[in-house]
């Protein structure tokens, strides 16, 4: 199987960036995440895979406390970023989200210009002293989002007027513009063509030099290509978590094997 092409890719063990223990998430009565323990390493790409509805997005949203915005969601367990509990009462989720950025499953650009979409984060975080610096940040982010060439002549055009795939890359650019330490990407490539997908994967690889990236994907090939660690979720449980190579060649759990060989999901 070609998913194993990058098998031999060398895996360095890095410092742990985020540490999650005994995580439970409830939506009202529904127990969506059950006893999940995951370590997100620094300068590593971690892939979350699993069938639809198994809780990948839910777990991802725990990592930057986006579940706070869902009234019925209840999160339990310990989530640590650089050793600090992110669910501590004293933690301001706003500050946390500046450090842990997110690209959502559905593209959600602001109904503003392309420029403003990307510039918004840097602006509210005071990252640019003047317009020139801001321009630079925007251009860099758009380049990293692999969309610069397409939009450089129409930065004033509305972001919502782009195609679905372009919107998603704009959202990626918007997320990287604030230079987060951890970037959570929920199926960033589900609406992209192979070329854009390759560009985003390149970006992920580049981001890995400095940050850690968590990516949810339904594409086994993509997980195998970009990630060093893979977590397989099933029905709210973390079934298996380990080196990507290990998971794809020699899964311990029969459910993992069924899934990656296409028999579940």
């Amino acid at each position: 199987m070609n998913v194993m092409t990058r098998l031999e890719k060398q895996v360095d063990t890095n410092a742990i960036k985020m540490e999650c223990r005994d995580c439970q998430v409830y939506y009202g009565q529904t127990h969506a995440i059950k006893d999940v323990n995951v370590d997100i390493e620094d300068k590593t790409v971690t892939a979350f895979i699993g069938p639809s509805g198994c809780g990948k997005s839910t777990f991802l949203r725990c990592l930057n406390r986006m579940n706070d915005t869902i009234d019925i969601a209840r999160v339990e367990g310990s989530f640590k970023l650089d050793g600090e509990d992110i669910y501590d009462k004293r933690v301001d989720p706003v500050q946390l989200r500046a450090k842990v950025g997110m690209v959502f499953q559905k593209p959600n650009p602001f109904p503003k210009s392309i420029y403003d979409n990307v510039a918004y984060g840097p602006k509210i975080h005071g990252m640019a002293k003047n317009k020139a610096e801001l321009d630079e940040i925007v251009e860099k982010a758009l380049r990293r989002g692999a969309i610069w060439e397409e939009v450089k002549d129409r930065l004033d055009a509305p972001g919502t007027g782009l195609s679905g795939g372009q919107q998603q890359r704009l959202c990626i650019a918007r997320a990287v513009a604030t230079e987060p330490e951890v970037l959570l990407m929920d199926e960033p490539c589900s609406a992209l063509d192979p070329i854009a997908t390759a560009q985003v994967e390149e970006l992920i690889d580049e981001l890995r030099q400095r940050y850690s990236v968590v990516i949810v994907t339904h594409s086994m090939q993509q997980a195998a290509r970009v990630s060093q660690k893979t977590a397989f979720f099933h029905l709210g449980n973390l079934v298996e978590f380990g080196e990507t190579g290990q998971i794809f060649t020699n899964p311990e759990d029969p459910r993992t094997e069924s899934y990656i060989t296409g028999r579940i999901g």
């Binding site: 950025g101 959600n108 984060g121 513009a177 579940i264």
Partner: protein, 456 residues
């Protein structure tokens, strides 16, 4: 496993319907369905047609009854300001001149009209100057007296004036007063009507556009020809300002809090239910509340636009809150997520992204709420916003807010109550003006919504 894949080879082999029917010939079921659809459309068109018909009838009734109020009959005559009557001492002392009441002016005006009749050569059995009284509005004497007091040098001169004709004369020219009716009318006789015909031919009596109806103040029961809605309009304007400055910020702040920040629990549910119920509370209840709280308890002045505005604010708040919350709800949650996702605070996400998107809806709701408040009558009656204001506009904002005043709908109600049929016409005229305001406000709401609705 629950989500295991389909058993192998069990894909349904999709194929054509065994009894294939020609597409050009609809079968019985389709025919029945189509007939039902046609019937339903016919009902819809009939319903809309009926609605339009009533609208046209209503508009026709309003316009045909009310247009008369925008025209008024005037008498143009040269009046000789006889010094022997107006300033007996001849010293042009302003105090002496002021002592002459309107009764002193009446004979002069009657004489002027009488002379005009003579000059026009109209044959009439009315041979005394006093007989002209029935043609002239009681306001004419006051009008000329004011001119003289303002400029005493006019005494001894003959001035050309345009005075109001009596309301019966006006009614005669507008077809409201008929010859058959005047037999029983003690105010005017058929001979007077002959005179009016003659004077109209001579160009002394003319019916023209009446700006004073739009800008003027109310008048006493017996001077319908003088009454205008202008001061009530100012009263309404001040009330609307109060409503706008109170209801908009309070309503928007409350909605933003409830919609974006408040936890969803029993208390907020209760508040929500209560707000919806408040919107359905009869307006007269707000009036009684305003009377009890603002006037009897806080001792704010009666008939003041401030109090009226406060009562209407209470009434408008639920409307504004409901429409604001609806437009906040209509902003997709993904926009909030996007803002929070790049590290914006709740407040930033609301004010930078959600509110601008909801603004057109909020604006529309506010304007509609204001329009509702503008047309509201019942609560105003309870707090006495039916002041009889026969003077002119208040000066300054403070007195505008605190001086007794009326409001347009209350004024219309007052007029409709009065016995003189001339007031009936004015009530319809007032309704036209009120409707013009309401229609323009609603048009503005539509335009704003069009203009600012998600431009992309």
């Amino acid at each position: 496993m629950s989500d295991a894949s389909l058993p192998n080879g069990s894909l349904p082999s999709g194929g054509a319907n065994p009894q294939s029917v020609s597409l050009t010939e609809p079968d019985a079921r389709t025919k029945k369905r189509n007939a039902a659809e046609k019937r339903f459309r016919a009902y819809g068109i009939a319903a809309i047609g009926a609605g339009l018909f009533f609208l046209v009838v209503l508009l026709f009734a309003i316009v045909s009854n009310g247009m008369g109020a925008f025209q008024q009959t005037f008498i143009n005559v040269p009046v000789y300001l006889d010094p022997a009557k107006l300033d007996k001492k001849g010293e042009r002392n302003i105090d002496d001149i002021k002592k002459v009441s309107t009764f002193g002016y009446n004979p002069l005006i009657q004489k002027a009209v009488f002379d005009a009749v003579q000059e026009a050569g109209i044959e009439t059995p009315l041979e005394k100057t006093k007989d002209m009284k029935a043609l002239i509005s009681a306001s004419a004497a006051a009008q000329i007296r004011d001119m003289v007091i303002e400029n005493p040098d006019l005494i001894g001169e003959t001035i050309d004036v345009r005075i109001l004709a009596a309301s019966r004369v006006d009614g005669y020219l507008k077809g409201r007063v008929k010859r058959e009716d005047v037999a029983r009318d003690k105010n005017i006789d058929a001979e007077h009507l002959d005179l009016v015909d003659g004077l109209q031919q001579a160009g002394v009596v003319e019916k023209t556009f009446n700006l004073d109806f739009i800008l003027g103040a109310d008048a006493s029961e017996s001077r319908a020809e003088q009454a205008g809605i202008g001061v009530a309009m100012i009263g309404s304007f001040f009330m609307m300002m109060v409503v706008l400055f109170l209801a908009l910020p309070i309503g928007v702040a409350a909605s933003i809090y409830l919609e974006e920040f408040a936890p969803k629990n029993r208390i907020t549910d209760l508040i929500e239910v209560n707000i919806s119920n408040l919107a359905a509370v009869p307006s007269i209840v707000f009036g009684i509340l305003g009377l009890a709280v603002f006037i009897q308890f806080v001792h704010l002045p009666q008939s003041a636009p401030l109090v009226g505005g406060l009562v209407l604010t209470l009434m408008t708040l639920p409307t504004i809150i409901i429409s604001t919350r609806a437009s906040l709800k209509a902003v997709p949650p993904s926009i909030r997520d996007a803002a929070l996702g790049v590290g914006a605070s709740k407040m930033q996400s609301v004010f930078h992204h959600v509110l601008p998107l909801a603004a057109p809806g909020i604006l529309t709701g506010t304007i509609i709420g204001l329009a509702q408040a503008l047309g509201e009558t019942a609560p105003l009656l309870l707090i006495g916003m039916v002041g009889y204001i026969a003077t002119n506009a208040p000066d300054g904002i403070a007195s505008g807010l605190l001086d007794p005043n009326s409001a347009m709908p209350a004024q219309i109600y007052e007029w409709a109550k009065r016995a003189d049929p001339a007031y009936y016409e004015r009530a319809w005229g007032g309704i036209i003006i009120l409707l013009v305001f309401l229609v323009s406000m609603n048009t503005l709401a539509v335009l704003l919504r069009r203009r600012f609705e998600r431009r992309w």
